[in-house]
Structures are given as C-alpha cells and as structure tokens.
C-alpha cells in the first residue's frame, strides 16, 4: 500500500536528532566553519557517548535517511565529524563477507571514537574510478599497497585514530581494466599509510578531507573485499568494479538525504524570516496572483519535496531488496542540484541577511554545493540515469 506515514519510531528518531543538533550543532556551526581543521572534540565525545542510545544510528534505510536529513539540517560539516564506520563501513557492508563484517566492524562500537573512510579518488582520476592507478601486489600472506588518494572524507580521523579503517581502491592488474580493481581494508595506524594534508574547502569545513599516501603499506591477504581473482577472459566479469558501484547505490541516497537536510535548513530560515516580517506564502492561489517571492519559495519547496521523495523511494527499494541503481542516481542527481539552487536562491531572497556571516545561510549555500559533487557529480549521476533509461552500456553512451 502506498503510504507516507512515518512510524512512531521514525518520528521519535527525527525528534531526537533535531534536539541533538539544536543543542550541539547549531551553536558551534559558525565557529568550526571559521576554524577549519580544528576538531570539535566536545561534540565528538558527546556523539560517541550517545552512540548506543540510537540518537545517531546510521544505517542504510528510510529511518537513517530521515535522521541524516535532520542532522544535516543542523550542520552537514559537523555531521561528517560524528564517529562511525561511515563510507568505509558501507563498502564493507556492500561487498564484504560475514567474517569480514565481524572482524572489521564487530567491535567498532567499543572503546574510543572511531571512523571509517573510503579512499577512491586520486590526483589523476575522479569520477572515472576505473582509471585508478594505486596498486596492490600480492606478496605471500599480504597485499602491498602503493599510491596516493585524495579527497578522502574522514581521511585523517579514520587513518590516525586507533580502531578506525580506510577502504582503499587499488588495481591488482592494470592490464585487466575494471576487473582488476579491488578494494582493501587498511586498519588505522598501519605502517606505510600516512596522512599527507588536509584540504581547505568552500564548505563543510568541519569535515576532514585528507590526502592519504600509501607507501609499501602491507595488510593481511584476508583484507581484500570480494573475490581476489581477476577474470580477464570474460569481459562481463567486472565484479571488483561492481562492488564499488554497489556501494554507491547504497551511499548515494545517503548523500541525497544530507543534501535535503541542508536545503531544508535554508528553506526554514527563509520562511521564519518572512513570517517575522508578516509575509505568508499563499498556497493554492492562481499563479498570476502570486508575488515573485511566493513563486520562488513555492518552487524551492516543491524541489525540496521532489528530492526528498526520490531519496526515500531509493532507500525504501533497498530495504525491499530491489535493485535501486537507477533510483539512487535519480535521487542523488536531483537532490544535489535542487539544494544547490534552493540555497543559492535563499541567499538571493534574504539579501543582506543571506550574504552576511552573522547568519548561517551563506554557510549552508557553501555546504550544499558538495552534495552535487561527492559520491558522483550531478553529471555522472545524470549519465548513469541516462544509460539506465536508454538501456545503454558505457560504450554506447560515453
């Protein structure tokens, strides 16, 4: 049955997350935006202390999406400081064995705060992840990793804090193309893995975006995710690459959920400000009678809703164990672009209030933009949607 009613648990999850960010994110939002690379230690400790209270539990389902929207309504940069298995965990869930999940994530919740990261992008390759040049060489009971990874979200925290992990994508056989691309779990503190630098960014400044260097970094053979064999003969056997893509089907809706959280923060600010000025948005009034301002706000709200429903659908499908590759990319493409436009329009509408660093709106505009870039740019996601609706391979539509 088509239904949009939230369960009592979901309503509660939203309420708790909302209170959490109102108390802990919003008051420090501006500070950590202006003090890039400083760690919000109090917040991390508090988030870690509450990890078992289900305040911040982040899965890959509808409830998680609702919670993430709320947390990013608070602050998307600070959200990305919250300890947890993160994208590294998502990769392990998507293509690891039960034993690996147990080994890498089983005790993730214990002891000190931990982070999981995924290292894919390199200086010479971004969205074309099949062009990865980092290498993994099989040597006895170990893999030896070499290469440079950039733009690793959580990179510093995951690589340096004990108990953390980084999932690294590397090729075991360059001549095999995509089939040679595999992912490897590198535990924090492994010799040969080091954090080279932290990026200075347009937005989400509280989030650490790091360059990681792998220099003869040795890890146990069992740390490979998926099948270690390279099947060169059959071109359709590109399971390693598909592992990466399956991860994206799970993480793209999550990024979409983050996006709509930022978008709603901007929308709420606009509506609250208008309300204070005694301006109400009239719904159900003929278009020719609406003011330009009302048209703008209605368009922003409709786009927020469109992005949100596409996001919920893609996560609901995942919960139903239905393939959601198309729907995940639809949600990500729509949400990234929608909130980019919503936040930019909000700054425009609010005039001096929008442009001033006295308020958070200009920051949300900067924060929003990353959602149209990471986990596949808007254009890459459009390409995926186009291939799917046309039933075209990557060779038929480049």
């Amino acid at each position: 049955m088509i239904d949009f009613e939230l369960t009592p648990e979901q309503k509660e999850a939203i309420r708790i997350a909302h209170e959490f960010v109102e108390e802990l994110f919003r008051p420090i939002s501006r500070y950590y935006d202006e003090h890039e690379h400083e760690s919000p230690q109090e917040l991390i400790d508090r988030a870690w202390a509450e990890r078992n209270k289900n305040t911040l539990a982040l899965g890959l389902d509808v409830t998680a999406s609702l919670r993430i929207e709320e947390l990013c309504w608070g602050d998307a940069g600070l959200f990305l400081c919250v300890p947890g298995p993160g994208l590294g965990g998502a990769a392990i869930f998507a293509s690891g064995t039960k034993e690996q999940m147990q080994r890498f994530l089983g005790s993730f919740n214990e002891g000190e705060p931990k982070w999981g990261a995924m290292a894919m992008t390199e200086p010479g390759c971004g969205s074309d992840t099949s062009a990865i040049s980092a290498t993994a060489v099989h040597d006895g009971a170990e893999w030896v990793l070499n290469g440079e990874k950039i733009f690793v979200t959580w990179g510093k925290r995951a690589a340096e804090n004990p108990g953390g992990l980084v999932v690294v994508w590397a090729t075991v056989d360059k001549s095999a193309g995509r089939a040679g691309m595999k992912s490897f779990v590198v535990p924090a503190g492994t010799p040969g893995m080091r954090m080279e630098k932290l990026e200075k960014k347009l937005g989400i400044r509280a989030s650490d975006t790091a360059t990681l260097i792998f220099d003869n970094c040795r890890i146990p053979f069992e740390n490979i995710l998926g099948n270690p064999e390279v099947k060169k003969v059959d071109k359709s056997q590109t399971k390693g690459f598909k592992g990466a893509m399956a991860t994206f089907d799970a993480t793209r809706p999550i990024v979409a959920a983050m996006a709509i959280g930022v978008g709603r923060a901007a929308l709420d600010f606009v509506k609250e400000t208008l309300e204070k000025e005694g301006i109400t948005i009239r719904y159900g009034v003929p278009k020719q009678k609406l003011t330009a301002l009302e048209r703008d706000v209605i368009e922003m709200e409709a786009n927020y809703k469109a992005a949100k429903l596409l996001t919920l659908r893609s996560l609901w499908m995942m919960g139903q164990l239905q393939p959601n590759n198309l729907e995940a990319s639809m949600a990500k493409a729509k949400a990234g672009l929608a909130v980019t436009k919503i936040t930019q329009k909000a700054v425009e509408i609010m005039g001096p209030l929008g442009y001033s660093r006295k308020y958070l709106l200009e920051k949300w505009m900067r924060d929003a933009k990353i959602n149209d870039i990471f986990e596949g740019t808007g254009q890459i996601n459009m390409l995926i949607v186009a291939r799917r609706v046309l039933d075209y391979s990557r060779d038929q539509l480049k």
């Binding site: 719904y283 596409l310 459009m382 390409l383």
Partner: protein, 364 residues
Amino acid sequence: MISFSPTEEQQMIVSMAKQFANDEMRKIYRQCDENGEIPDSVIDTVWKMGLTSSSIPEEYGGPGGEHSAITGSLIAEELAWGDLSITMHILCPALFAYPVLEMGAETQKKKYLPLFCDEKYKAATAALIEPRFGFDPYSLSTTARPDGDGYVLNGEKCYVPLAAEADLLLVYAAENGSSQGFIIEKGTKGLEIGEQEKNMGIRALATYEISLKNCRIPKENRLGGEKGCDFNRIMNCSRVALSAMATGLAKAAFEYSRDYAKERVAFGEPIASRQAIAFMLAEMAIEIDATRLMTWEAAWKLDRKGEATKEASLVKAYADDMVMMVTDRAVQILGGHGYVREHPVELWLRNGRGFVTFDGMAIV
C-alpha cells in the same frame, strides 16, 4: 510506514487501464484529435469497466468500493498516457459524481448517484473556469443569490466539458463571496449552452461556454445542502487528478522521444548516444518520477481526509512546469519530425500546455 508499492487490487486496476490505453486509445487518438470527436463505442467500452461507479456505495446502486485518491491517480496516469482528451471525456462524469459522493446531502446522493451505476455512459459535468484574465476559483464572477426557496445564478463559464450532452451540471458560483457548488439539470431555464470551443489542444474533448442568465434552481440543489461543500477539497482533488494526468502524458512523450533517439542515426550513431540528447532524457525521467511521487503523497493526504492544500498545490505547480519541459523536449529531440503531425509529440505538447488552465476539469 513509508511504502511506494500499490496494493494488489490497485495493480490490477492499473493494468486494466494500461491495457485499454494501449489497445484502444492509442489506436484512435490522432484521428480523434483531427476530427475533434471521440467515437461513442470507445467511451461505452471503458464505461463498462466501472472506473467512475466503482466507489459508489451499494445503497446507491454501486459496487461499494473504497473511494481513493491514490487509486484515482494511478488510473488517471495510465489513461492519460493513452490520450488526454479521451481520458478527460471518460472521467468527466466524475466531475459531478465524486463531489456528490463525498459532500452531497443524503437526498442528493439518493437522487443522483444511482444514475452513474448504469450500463450506459452517463454524461454529467462541472463548470468552474470563467472566460476572463485573472480567473481565480476562490473569487468567482458567477454568482448564486438566495431568492425565496431557491437560488438565482448569473455568469459565464468556459471549458465545460460535454456541456451539450450532459444531463447534469455542477456549477460553481460565488455565494456571498465563497465558492459553492450548484446542481443544474439540463433544460433549466436560463442555462444556455454556447458553441463548442476551439482550443489549441485537447481537441477531441468537446468543451463549451455556458451562460447563466437568471437561472433559478431549487434550494435543495446546493451541493451538500445547507452545509454546503468543502470547495477547497474539491480543488485539491482536481489538482491531484491533473498532476497524475500530466505525469502520464509526460511519460508518453518521454518514451516516444527516447525510442526515437535510439533509432535515429546521425553522424554514424544513434542521437541517444550523445550526451546532449541523453541528458535531456535523463532529466525528463527524473522529473516524471518526482512528480508521480509528489502526486501520490498529496493523494495520500486526501485519502486521510487531511488538509492537503500545500501538497496538492505544490505538486500541481510542479507538474505544470514538468509536463511542459518534457513535451517540449520530446518535440525538440525529434527535431523537424517532432513538428509534423505524423508523430504524436506535437499533440502532446499542445495538450501539455493546457494543464495550467485546466482547473477543475478533472477530479479524483
């Protein structure tokens, strides 16, 4: 709990509507558009499927199914994929029947609902739109003035589908400034049906101007009796129905232009393998899905009898823009071929342009 899966019963009705749209509507829609009329036989065939009567309770002669805006939206989308004119014709009696079913006084239900449970198509309609710039459903120029034991109606209406053949008209008019519905039976003195209108699109749907000149009706013909009707809810039901139809029509244009783009070869490969074309199609697909989901959400609100004005008007505004974007691009993708009447996309563009005007011309 959030779910995007129609019930089994809904899936059954949807596949029935889909089959009819594909087997019947798609065969004749061009001819209907050119001739400006729809063969009665097609209307009779679909009427027998009972789409309008299915939710009329047994006590009024219907099968007593649940009345659901979600189900109505699912059906409307499938039919509109087939053809918009024929869809609006088929669903036209609902413009009268559904408001009576939902808000009518007991005597009105008893009197009128059984008429829609007949084997034979029952033409009935509603008149809302007025022929002037700045038309606003909440501020009608047509007036209903209480006078003794009845009402006297005066004003002009346009875009009244099937007005000439309809036995029953539900006319919306301002009573002390607020919009209310009034039932006018065919032949009532003061009701004049004008010439059939000539429109840019929906050319197969017969629409008329009507004028009301001191048209006197009995008091009991006020929709909902003394209580009146929830006009805003009627508008929301209309917004949802039109959004669903816009989704179906856009889907038709998307599919056609997608298939064309895969067939049409330029510079040695199908034009679909160029990003300029492929990205247009991707965006069309995304916006169609987004509009459908927003339609469902608004319909869901209506089914829970909640206040749905925000959701319904947001999706309607969104759908109006979406259907223009999609149908215009469909024409663009076909290039010169899109402009000629050998292909359907020009027809869909003309029909798509109408949604922003079609207030109150469909209902779930």
